[in-house]
Assembly symmetry: C2
Homo-oligomer: 290 residues x 2
């Protein structure tokens, strides 16, 4: 199947499943409304698509991987809600819409993020995957979300005295963006019962894809318009936060995006059957304009 | 063994295990320091003690239940960090010490709470409990922590238009405090491989204990001194937040504490071998002064 078709099919499947979440009529409905608001604000769904696709090309049952895929997207969404809070990045605009706390208030946005994290683990643990592999998958996700992953990256990204040499920035990226993208890939392989070699290759793909993705993000923060991006631009410069794009220059950063993209592709080209979509996705993300 | 001895032994065991967490020398050490700060700020450890004790009286391996017990305490601790934030209850004092955000800043406190939640699930999933029961236990914890539990209770407790009749307040308590206390009890039974009847009884015990506990808290918010309590008092009245103690009066609220305490004791008296500690704990919490 054509990569574009894979992307649109899996994305439609993810969106349809997300749409079903948190619709119950409960006394705390304003909280679940806040959770739905950000979950359905229309991201690229790259993470859940990766989980599903890694499972799919290994011959696994995509519907069995879906709870894991949605869980990864929930972790990602909660992190965006909290990152946007006034005490963090203080962003009012995300994906072209007012951020969660602007609509629902800071307290509720904080709790909505918290509850999305809990919901991620609850849903993930409902996946019809053998319990041994399920425990391994969900533990991997929890580690990726926590201090040794996304939260640790957030700490380093926020701290004023962090090492912002290219190596330091790579560490920040590997934790803040890489850990969860890696988990998205690994969970798909685990859902399908892939080999250790495939697990390692999925990790490598996720690592390099995340580096390319983040550097592309940093470039767009300099070169894109708010209208094209659907979120505030120039925030790195406004926060005086060095990025690959600002310390190496946009051109060198573009080259680094391409290098990391090639490394991502190399990781999966020989290890997985039918890697075309994974290759095309890496290429697509390398040149994205938003 | 005497209930006092059970309490002090299990508490010492929990404190010793908590002390070992997040000690690694990592680049994001300020984040793990913030996590440790609140985790080691000296709570009563009632939740992990309940997990361990329910496991113990059923003949289970207490050390196997420890990761689950610590996970419950981590969820509790993260909720305190977030509850104390300026955008929530805005409390500067907790357990006699400055709250997390006062020491570490709001952004880091938010992330420390987030990372504690992730760490809870990662650690819980490492428990040497059969994978089927482990999945069930951790899913129960995730549900208790989320919108259908603690976070939903937080929403109702914070919303200005929530039902604050005795029934409404009971729902708020059952979610905000009850869900996690129930989970603490249930996880101990699951770790030991208890029967469905014992699971149900542990839930009942947790529910009634939590009601008694929360109403006692509300009473102390009116009657105690800040020095005795180690945290701000009068905050409910200052927030004009009705509680059992304020709508029924302290005396009627005290009667309700005793009723719920008796219900908690009744739930476990016949269902568990050696329930003495559980009975004594309920009695102890009913008359606690802090």
């Amino acid at each position: 199947m054509e990569p574009d078709r894979v992307l649109s099919d899996l994305r439609a499947y993810v969106d349809a499943e997300l749409e079903k979440l948190f619709t119950a009529d409960v006394p705390y409905k304003r909280l679940t409304d806040a959770m739905r608001y950000s979950l359905l604000a229309g991201g690229k769904r790259i993470r859940p698509i990766l989980t599903l696709r890694f499972c799919q090309i290994l011959g696994g049952d995509v519907s069995a991987a879906m709870p894991l895929a949605l869980a990864v997207e929930m972790i990602h969404t909660y992190s965006l809600i909290h990152d946007d809070l006034p005490c963090m990045d203080n962003d009012a605009l995300r994906r072209g819409k007012p951020t969660n706390h602007v609509v629902f208030g800071e307290g509720r946005a904080t709790v909505a993020g918290d509850a999305l994290q809990s919901a991620a683990f609850e849903l993930a643990l409902s996946a019809p995957v053998g319990p041994d592999r399920l425990v391994k998958a969900v533990a991997y996700l929890a580690r990726a979300a926590g201090a040794a992953g996304m939260c640790g990256g957030q700490e380093l990204d926020t701290a004023e005295d962090s090492d912002r040499s290219p190596e330091g920035l790579t560490l920040i990226n590997d934790l803040k963006t890489g850990a969860l993208l890696r988990a998205a890939c690994v969970l798909g392989v685990l859902a399908a019962g892939g080999t250790d070699r495939q697990l390692a290759a999925a990790e490598d793909y996720g690592t390099h894809l995340a580096r390319a993705f983040q550097i592309r993000d940093d470039i767009l923060d300099i070169t894109a318009t708010e209208a094209a991006l659907g979120k505030s631009v120039g925030s790195d410069a406004a926060n005086e936060k060095p990025t690959f794009a600002s310390i190496l220059g946009v051109e060198a950063a573009e080259r680094k995006v391409l290098e990391e993209t090639e490394a991502a592709k190399a990781a999966v080209r020989e290890t997985f059957p039918d890697p075309d979509f994974l290759l095309a996705l890496a290429d697509h993300l390398a040149v994205r304009e938003k």
